[in-house]
């Protein structure tokens, strides 16, 4: 059988499939269905310094081949994460990635410093949450702001640092380059695309927050394009996500330039998706006589 393991910024993953932040909480629920080691890694729910209650409901709307969400970073705070969630997660035989969010540069530096002093394997910086006025999205919208926040956080971060990029930008390659030059160890993309739906009977937005982040199969081609552009622009590892639903999507995303992938919304459609994607990857690599999934990265013939 082909080797599915990958190395991202010095961290070994048994397989390249990572659960995307915000879709798996801290792992307990899907852990009822299978061992969490079916994932190479888990990117935990976006965590802030203090507990956040999140946005008022409705937070969810369906879209053609996808969905909008405006959960608004509901989370129990970093202290709870470290004391309650992390010890359990560390026993699940999967890479634990903390997803750090905040509203000021100071917040980001502080939470990163706190998380650096724990057993988390990596830190993913969430500078692209579109659902909170001060959810950090303003840090992710230009190469200059991404460079500034990455540089600041880097000084406090002793863990491998992933910068999660927003697709709501003019030039994703320039943003990725800015993260790289400021000291990021990897980038992950794409976060959700900002969207909106209206109930035509009430003339009100379906989501109370008015807008929400769009995810699911509908965003997949956008994600493939952006991963392709970013891979050509940077030397650091690229984690590709956005609408991956099948093993074929996973192969496509890896060919576009992803060193590892994240899956999220598909879990809501099919909780067993990580197992099916992993089996499909094995089958594809074996039938094409490819020894390691790493040989597939960025092999698109343009």
């Amino acid at each position: 059988m082909a080797d599915l393991s990958v190395n991202i910024a010095g961290v070994h993953f048994d397989n390249p499939i990572i659960a995307a932040s915000g879709t798996i909480g801290f792992g307990h629920e899907y852990g009822e269905l299978y061992p969490l080691s079916v994932f190479g890694g888990i990117s935990c729910k976006g965590t802030t310094l203090k507990e956040r209650p999140g946005n008022p409901p409705p937070r969810i709307a369906e879209t053609p081949m996808g969905m909008l969400n405006a959960v608004g970073l509901q989370n129990p705070g970093v202290e709870h994460f470290i004391n309650v969630e992390l010890p359990w997660l560390k026993q699940q035989n999967t890479v634990v990635i903390a997803n750090a969010a905040g509203s000021t540069e100071e917040d980001y530096c502080k939470i990163t410093e706190i998380l650096s002093d724990t057993d988390v394997d990596m830190i993913e910086l969430n500078i692209s949450c579109p659902n909170v006025k001060e959810g950090g999205a303003q840090f992710g919208t230009s190469p200059e702001s991404v460079e500034k926040i990455t540089k600041a956080v880097r000084k406090h971060c002793t863990k491998p640092l992933i910068i999660k990029l927003s697709p709501n930008v003019a030039d994703i390659a320039a943003v990725a380059k800015a993260a790289e030059s400021a000291g990021a160890d990897a980038v992950s993309l794409i976060n959700t695309l900002t969207g909106m739906r209206i109930d035509i009977n009430t003339r009100k937005p379906i989501i109370k927050n008015v807008t929400g982040g769009m995810s699911g199969p509908a965003v997949f081609p956008v994600a493939v394009r952006m991963v392709y552009q970013v891979k050509k622009a940077v030397k650091i590892p690229v984690i590709g996500l956005g609408g991956i639903s099948t093993w074929q999507d996973a192969v496509e995303m890896i060919m576009a330039g992803a060193d590892a992938i994240q899956i999220g919304t598909v879990l809501f459609t099919d909780p067993y998706a990580p197992i099916k994607i992993s089996e499909g990857l094995h089958g594809y690599l074996d039938s094409h006589d490819i020894a390691s999934v790493t040989e597939l990265t960025a092999t698109v013939k343009v």
């Binding site: 879709t23 629920e29 009822e32 081949m65 959960v71 509901q74 879990l267 099919d270």
Partner: protein, 252 residues
């Protein structure tokens, strides 16, 4: 096993009203662990999000779901043919905790009526069921409730069948004889029942709904406002903390 995603075979399908369907789905493993007030999360071919449907009843290895066609997703589900399978994550959520030594009034409104069947059945013959409907054409499950031997009261908003008026009228007359109220239906109805229960100092549980994604408690999408001990409001989730909540905890 608390819950699982499994294919369930549709073995019987009836249409109860022009928009309400009655499905019996076979899965012994899931039926065995399903309790009153829980729900199943149904995969809809071609849709990203599943549809949460409350459990109407469990009959041996059969899970019974009675649901209303409200949009595209439920329309596709209604098109499922006998012999086809539907993938369900089941059972989900915290249902009604039904004591057998208490006098319980179950109140259902509209499409909130189906989950009352399994719940009332579990409570035994001393239970009272009050079901309210828009009009005669919307009345469902009358014979099923009669079969379980409970006292059944039915109302319609326009008086075309049963008692003319809302469920709260017969409830007001009977509430002092009850120990506990379990209700499912439109939010205004639940809110009124919660207020009445509080006034009469009766335990009251309500089953809520909200737009939902994962169904298992991971995504935090289906938020519902609840009151904290200090009086402030926070959010819990219909799929995991509910769908059944203590009425006095809900921030209406």
């Amino acid at each position: 096993m608390k819950f699982d995603a499994q294919d369930c075979k549709l073995v019987a399908k009836t249409q109860l009203t022009p928009t309400i369907y009655d499905f019996r789905l076979q899965n012994a493993e899931l039926a065995e662990i399903t309790k009153p007030g829980q729900f199943a999360h149904l995969l809809v071919p071609g849709k990203t999000l599943r549809r949460p449907i409350s459990i109407c009843d469990v009959e041996g290895d059969m899970i019974r779901l009675v649901f209303e066609v409200r949009g595209e997703g439920t329309k596709i589900l209604a098109g499922t043919e006998v012999g086809d399978t539907i993938n369900m994550i089941c059972p989900l959520g915290k249902g009604f905790d039904i004591p057998t030594d208490k006098k319980i009034i179950f109140v259902g409104g509209g499409i909130g009526v189906p989950p009352m069947l399994y719940s009332a059945k579990s409570a035994g013959k001393n239970s009272v069921v009050i079901n309210g409907f828009r009009d005669k054409s919307a009345v469902i499950l009358t014979e099923d409730f009669k079969k379980i031997g409970c006292k059944l009261i039915e109302t319609t908003d326009n008086g075309s069948y049963g008692i003319h008026g809302f469920v709260t009228q017969p409830l007001e007359e009977m509430i002092d004889n009850a120990d506990m109220i379990c209700a499912c239906g439109p939010t205004p109805m639940l809110k009124n029942i919660a207020a009445m229960a509080q006034q009469h100092q009766k335990e009251c549980f309500v089953s809520l709904e909200q737009r939902m994604a994962c169904g298992v408690g991971a995504c935090l999408g289906c938020a519902v406002g609840v009151k904290k001990a200090d009086g402030s409001t926070t959010y819990q989730h219909v799929c995991k903390n509910g769908p059944v909540f203590r009425a006095e905890e809900v921030a209406w």
